[in-house]
Amino acid sequence: MKKIVSLFFAILLLAGFTMTNQASASTKDELPKILNATSYSVSQLQ
């Protein structure tokens, strides 16, 4: 019974991760700004 449960979750996990790898940009990348200069200099922040 325990084996079946483990297998069930393993399949669920595999299905989920496979899809993540196929799509969606990572939110962990910092994209340059689309409109203004990316610079973090003081004049940009005021």
Partner: protein, 433 residues
């Protein structure tokens, strides 16, 4: 000078009915004719109508200073080009103030629409109040049938950028797709075309359409390299790095970031190093080098000391690495710093990082993951329709329940995670995978 279209545009912008504006001044049907420029109203009527709309009649009824239509259009275009080229908020503010002093009324009514669209574009760059910008967009959408093709392009650009600025990337990209379809039908100068390619490149990267984004970034990069626009060139290399990282071409990603870094060094663009360090950190994270990632994130945070909001994403990424390494003490330290920073900044655009930091903090606490924190995080991402993150935190919660032998709850959240993964990937059934 006929200014009915100006009155109409302002009335629509203020969401005022014709009956309300006309009351005590003229009949609604007379106002309707004025707005369509079918009749020349008396100066007195124009003044009364403008007064009710809170407009300055003097500005619109005086001749347009000493400019001809061509001179005014050239001034508009020059201002627009300089704002796009400089990408500097102070300069944009100055140009917007200058435009707002101008009288945009000419025999050719179309000039007024170009003026309104460029003014709106500047407001967008200044990140003015979203509700105000949205209101302007809705009012302009009513006039869209009167726009020429270039004005339609300017309008769509404002619309797409508004979606992007509000993190509705999917909607932004839908609008960008429409812009792509019309690009060969409008005559744009090279600097404007390069800027559009850049905008498309950023938008498609954010939406993970990597083939499209690399195509447009390559086109923008060719222009900026030729025109020696070093900051823009650097931004293009950062994007190429991100695209390559996403495509798992790690060496190409490193090469691109090194090129961006060299531009920073050669042209003393010290304020831009923070974003490069962050992305090199993210690259190392993808390659499984958590400690190297943390080194770069640390450098990024110290380089971004002037920008607290810029630091938050890096702090969150640092926390993710410490979570993988199970360095609980350091994770807690950075969670505390990030949460404190979020409260200081009080910026709702950063709310997603707040929820995620709380989640990590709770997950690694002595008491273990709190149901409340986990569900708040999941519900937050559902509410902003970020189904990728909803999926991510459903998995984390399911795994947590599984580790605690709460198999029924675990099964529910695994199932939920798959549901949101389907939505995120536009899949309806498992057979479609």
């Amino acid at each position: 000078m006929r200014i009915g279209h100006v009155i109409r545009a302002e009335r629509v912008r203020q969401e005022m009915k014709q009956v309300v504006l006309a009351k005590g001044i003229c009949t609604p049907s007379y106002l309707s004719k004025i707005e369509r420029n079918l009749i020349d109203p008396s100066e007195e009527v124009v003044e009364l109508l403008m007064d009710r709309l809170g407009m300055d009649p003097g500005k619109f009824t005086q001749p347009a200073q000493d400019k001809t239509e061509q001179e005014f259009l050239k001034m508009l275009k020059d201002s627009y080009r300089n704002v796009i080229t400089k990408r500097d908020k102070d300069y944009t503010r100055q140009q917007l103030d200058m435009l707002l002093q101008e009288n945009p009324i000419f025999e050719d009514q179309s000039i007024y629409y170009t003026y309104l669209l460029i003014v709106l574009h500047f407001r967008l760059r200044l990140e003015e109040d979203f509700l105000l910008i949205n209101k302007e967009l809705i009012a302009l959408e009513e006039q869209v049938n009167n726009f020429n093709r270039y004005q339609q392009f300017l309008f769509l650009l404002c619309k797409g950028l508004t979606y992007y600025s509000n993190r509705n990337i999917k909607k932004a990209v839908e609008v960008f797709d429409t812009i792509v379809d019309m690009l060969d039908k409008i005559d744009l100068e090279n600097w404007e075309l390069a800027d559009i390619y850049y905008v498309l490149g950023v938008g498609y990267t954010a939406n993970n359409q990597l083939v499209l984004s690399s195509e447009y970034i390559a086109k923008a990069l060719a222009f900026y390299r030729e025109s020696l626009s070093m900051k823009r060139l650097m931004d293009c290399y950062i994007l190429i790095g991100i695209i390559n990282k996403q495509s798992k071409k790690y060496q190409e990603a490193i090469d691109a970031y090194l090129k961006a870094q060299r531009i920073c060094d050669d042209f003393n663009l010290d304020g831009d190093k923070g974003i490069i360090y962050h992305n090199i950190g993210s690259l190392h994270s993808s390659m499984g080098n958590s400690w190297e990632a943390i080194d770069y994130y640390t450098k990024s945070i110290s380089d971004k000391y002037e920008s607290k909001s810029g630091q938050l994403i890096t702090i969150f990424c640092m926390v993710s690495e410490y979570s993988k390494l199970e360095e609980i003490q350091k994770l807690n330290k950075w969670c505390d710093i990030g949460i404190k920073l979020y409260h200081q900044l009080n910026d709702e655009n950063l709310e997603s990082y707040y929820h995620q930091l709380l989640f990590f903090q709770s997950l690694h606490s002595k008491e273990g993951l709190s149901d409340e924190v986990a569900k708040n995080t999941i519900n937050y991402f559902k509410s902003i329709q970020d189904y990728r993150q909803t999926y991510k935190y459903c998995i984390a919660l399911a795994q947590w329940y599984y580790s605690k032998r709460k198999y029924k709850l675990s099964s529910i959240y695994f199932s939920e995670s798959i549901r949101y993964s389907y939505i995120n990937n536009n899949i309806n059934r498992w057979e479609d995978i």
